[in-house]
Every structure is written in structure tokens, then in C-alpha cells.
């Protein structure tokens, strides 16, 4: 799979839940290229999870077309399953246990790795995610954040080409968030792994996103772009039930007061920008 090749295409799908809730993921096409870090922001209940479930073939659209690695996941997901790692929003049921270590071994053994290879892979991911202290625990009795990490480990262990993460940061403590972002960025850089993340933590978006989608109402994908573009230009993120990242708010506020330091999105950029302007003032 070459860098930049198109691996996901979603073309105006409609899904109707049994209680007649209709989610229509339309507006822009949802397109993901190999090696991109894609994030989706949107209000509660707007259809993010619904979209991801279509990519995984768990839901099959009534109308419209979904293609992942050139395959229709509603039909043939098993052909590409090995390439896709998933962490669902509701992490509880994703962990099959009984112990953390068993759970991490689950996928490698199912895909026919030998015990030795599987052990080795598990060790590596356990180290990456700092799971040593809990690796022998029974999965039912982990704290909320610990469960999330175990689910992540289960998804990462196969070193998939595509990672689908539904709100991976909820319930993680700040340092674990930071670690996770770092791990994801490393994987993306070293192995070209593509990942699609939904999240609500706008402050984290700039650090782990090449392409940002905004979703609206009941599935309306209405914006696509680089995070700085989207946060920079938008006046009414509120209509998406979103906020700007803290720094954007700060610098927009300063601009209103007549102090234009630009639109930095990351702390180091912000410090540099303020410093530069401060010096220039002399």
C-alpha cells in the first residue's frame, strides 16, 4: 500500500436504526488516504460512531457506498480484518480476557501466530503502553482508564495498517493521553499507519491530526481540512457543539484587544510567537 493511496471512501450513506432514527452521513464524502491521521469532531449523537461502524461492517448502510481497502466491509470485512485495529467507544465488551495478558494474546493467536511470536508481540505492546503492573489482572476488575489501555493494546498488537479509534482518550489520565498521542504519532511516522479517531478533546486535535472532519446534526459531514485552517477560519464552531482549542481562544481574544500574535495551535509555537512579537516591540 503506497503512501497517499486512497484507502477509504464513504459515499453518502444512510442508516436507519430499528427505532427509525435516521443517520445520513452525507455532505462531503469521507475520504482517507494511506498514512493520514484523520480526526472527526462532532456533537453527541451526531453519528460519529455510526460512521465508524459502517467502516467495520458492523452496520450495513441502507443506501450509499462504503469502501475500505477496495472492499465492501458490509460483505467481506473478514478479508481485511487483519489489517484493521479497532478500539470501540464502549470498551468494556471489547475485552475478552480473562486476564489482561490473555486478552492481548487473543488476536495474534487467532490469526495463527505461534505461541512464541504471539508472546513476543504481546510483550512489546505491553512495554509500549506501560501495562506491566496490571498484565496479570482479570480484565473485569480494572479501573475505567485501565480498560481503555488494554483495549488499545489489543488493537495495536497486530500492528495494523489502519487504526480506528472511537474516543480513545475518554477516561485516560492526561499523561496517558500524551503517551497515546506519542505512540500513535510514532507508529504513523515509522510504519505509515493510518488512523481515524473520533474525539471531543479539541485541545488534542492539533497534535495528532492531518485532516479534520467536522460533523453536524444527524451525520452531516460539512467541513474537511487541516486543523489550523478549520479552527482559524471558523466563527461558529458552536453550531457543531464544539469549542475552539484553548490557545485559539486566547489568541483570538488577544486579537480582539488589538494584539495580533498570529494563530498558533501548539504551546511551543505560541511561546515563540509571543516572544518574537515581544522582542520586535522594542
Amino acid at each position: 500500500m503506497k503512501e497517499g493511496e486512497r484507502i477509504i471512501e464513504v459515499d453518502c450513506i444512510t442508516h436507519v436504526y430499528p427505532d427509525m432514527t435516521k443517520v445520513q452521513i452525507c455532505g462531503l464524502d469521507f475520504i482517507v488516504n494511506q498514512g493520514e491521521r484523520v480526526s472527526i469532531l462532532g456533537s453527541n449523537g451526531c453519528g460519529k460512531t455510526t460512521l465508524l461502524k459502517h467502516l467495520l461492517g458492523i452496520l450495513v448502510p441502507k443506501d450509499g457506498r462504503v469502501s475500505v481497502f477496495g472492499i465492501n466491509p458490509g460483505k467481506d470485512f473478514s478479508k481485511i480484518r487483519e489489517k484493521v485495529g479497532v478500539v470501540m467507544q464502549d470498551v468494556d465488551e471489547q475485552i475478552l480476557g480473562p486476564t489482561v495478558y490473555d486478552d492481548i494474546l487473543f488476536a495474534p493467536l487467532n490469526y495463527g501466530m505461534g505461541r512464541k511470536k504471539a508472546d513476543w508481540m504481546a510483550k512489546e505492546v505491553i512495554e509500549r503502553l506501560n501495562l506491566e503492573p496490571i498484565q496479570k489482572k482479570i480484565v473485569n476488575y480494572l479501573s475505567g482508564g485501565e480498560k481503555k489501555k488494554v483495549a488499545l493494546a489489543g488493537a495495536l498488537v497486530m500492528e495494523p495498517d489502519l487504526l480506528i479509534l472511537d474516543e480513545p482518550f475518554t477516561g485516560l489520565d492526561p499523561l496517558s493521553r500524551r503517551d497515546l498521542i506519542q505512540i500513535l504519532n510514532e507508529l504513523n511516522k515509522e510504519k505509515g499507519i493510518t488512523f481515524i479517531t473520533t474525539l471531543h478533546e479539541v485541545d488534542l486535535v492539533p497534535e495528532m491530526t492531518d485532516i479534520l472532519y467536522l460533523m453536524h446534526g444527524h451525520g452531516d459531514l460539512s467541513e474537511r481540512g487541516r486543523p489550523d485552517e478549520i479552527f482559524g477560519k471558523f466563527k461558529d464552531l458552536e453550531s457543531f457543539n464544539l469549542e475552539e482549542p484553548t490557545l485559539t481562544k486566547l489568541f483570538k481574544g488577544l486579537k480582539k484587544e488589538g494584539l495580533d500574535f498570529g494563530d498558533p495551535l501548539r504551546i511551543d509555537e505560541a511561546i515563540q510567537s509571543i516572544k518574537k512579537h515581544w522582542k520586535d516591540k522594542k
Binding site: 480476557g97 480473562p98 482479570i138 473485569n140
Partner: protein, 242 residues
């Protein structure tokens, strides 16, 4: 097919009314003699195991009502008196979903609870002897299901004379007024000479049942093993192993 939900309208009144009364009586007695706190502490477990039974009973494995029952495992987890109440609840809810009759809730409860109650006692009995969890569970499950299947066959065959009536008295008036018919022991002899073929019924039920008993036994054993690993406290085995 360890257990079948008898539907409405098949069995005679004189059979299901006493069934109902008996089940109510047992339930009332159990409610009375279970300690209130013990009951309310284990309510959630009761609810969940009953839910598991409802689900098991509504997921068909094979068209002819092959389904897992999970009664024995529930019995092991809940103990003999709570399992009876749970079974009662299960039958009420299944009846509400249209899976079994409302009039026969009592009989269904009596039959089904045999699995749970016997399962519980057999499980503990065999555990004393062998201390091998999988084997113990399998045998206990298997035997408990055998008992309940025979109980079901028994109940169905008790209704024999009623079926005959339905066959013979066709068009003899719209309503049946004589609700409580006095039936002596003689109706069993009749069986042979009329068109009622209980033999065939049994010949169908038992072989199908046999496969069901084995399946259920295996599944119950595997589940028990898993629970033993994670929450051994739920199986209440400590006392005996010491």
C-alpha cells in the same frame, strides 16, 4: 431440547390449575422463609440469571426449539430456593413474549425448576465425590435435564384423556362447561386403545433431548470453568473443599 414451554390451550384445566396453585404455594413458602436481606442482596443476581435464561430460551439454535437453558448454571449460582423464584419470573416473562402459555406458567415453572434445583444438589453431591469441576458440572447438568424432560413427558401424558375428548367430542357444543372432570386412574389403560400415540411423542422427544442434554452439559461445564476462574466465590465451593 432440555425443556419445552408448554403453550396455552393444550392441557386440560384440571391439570394446569393445580399446577398453578402448587407453583404459587411453593413460591409463597420460599418467599416467607428466605431472609429479607439475603433476598434483596441477591436480587440483582436473580434478575440477571433470569434474564440469561430468558435470552437463552429465545435464541434458537436449531429450528425445533433447541436452545440453551442455563437453568443448571443458574441453579448452581442462585441456590435451590432462589432458582425457583427465578424460574417463575422467567416463565412469566416468556409468557409475555408469547413463548409459552400464560395458563401453564405454573406447570412450566414446576418442570423447569426441576433442572435448577436438581442441578444444584447434584452438582454439590458429585463435587463431594470427584472434585473435578468439568466432569461434575457435566453430569449434574445431564441428569437434571433428564429428570425435567421426563417430568414434562409425564405432564403431557397426564393430559391424554383430554386430548381424546378433544378428538372425539367434536362439534358437541361451543363451550366446555364441565371444567373439573373427575379422572380416575383408569385413563392410562385407555391410552393404548385410542388414537393417542404417546409412544411416538416420546420417541421423538427423547433422542432429540439426548443431543440437547449433551450440548447443554458441555456448555454449562465450560461456563462453570470460566466462572470458577474469575469469581470462584459465586460457586460456593469453599466450604466443602476444606
Amino acid at each position: 431440547m432440555s425443556h419445552i414451554h408448554l403453550p396455552d390451550g393444550v392441557l386440560p384445566v384440571w391439570l394446569w390449575v393445580p399446577g398453578f396453585i402448587a407453583a404459587m404455594l411453593v413460591a409463597a413458602v420460599l418467599f416467607r422463609f428466605t431472609k429479607k436481606e439475603a433476598l434483596s442482596r441477591r436480587f440483582p443476581l436473580l434478575g440477571m440469571m433470569a434474564a440469561a435464561m430468558v435470552l437463552g430460551a429465545s435464541v434458537e439454535v436449531v429450528p425445533i426449539a433447541y436452545h440453551v437453558n442455563l437453568t443448571v448454571i443458574s441453579g448452581i449460582l442462585l441456590g435451590p430456593s432462589l432458582i425457583f423464584l427465578a424460574t417463575f419470573v422467567v416463565n412469566v416473562i416468556l409468557a409475555l413474549f408469547g413463548h409459552g402459555g400464560i395458563t401453564v406458567i405454573g406447570l412450566n415453572t414446576l418442570i423447569l425448576s426441576i433442572e435448577g434445583v436438581f442441578g444444584y444438589f447434584l452438582f454439590h453431591l458429585f463435587w463431594q465425590v470427584s472434585k473435578r469441576l468439568i466432569l461434575t458440572t457435566f453430569i449434574a447438568t445431564f441428569l437434571a435435564l433428564v429428570f425435567s424432560t421426563f417430568a414434562m413427558i409425564g405432564v403431557v401424558s397426564l393430559g391424554t384423556s383430554h386430548y381424546e375428548e378433544l378428538i372425539h367430542h367434536e362439534g358437541e357444543g361451543i363451550f366446555e362447561f364441565h371444567l373439573l372432570k373427575d379422572k380416575g386412574p383408569h385413563h392410562e389403560e385407555e391410552t393404548k386403545k385410542t388414537e393417542i400415540h404417546l409412544g411416538r411423542f416420546i420417541a421423538i422427544v427423547l433422542p432429540l433431548g439426548f443431543i440437547g442434554w449433551i450440548l447443554e452439559g458441555v456448555i454449562t461445564a465450560l461456563i462453570t470453568r470460566y466462572i470458577h476462574r474469575l469469581r470462584p466465590d459465586l460457586l460456593h465451593l469453599e466450604k466443602e473443599s476444606q
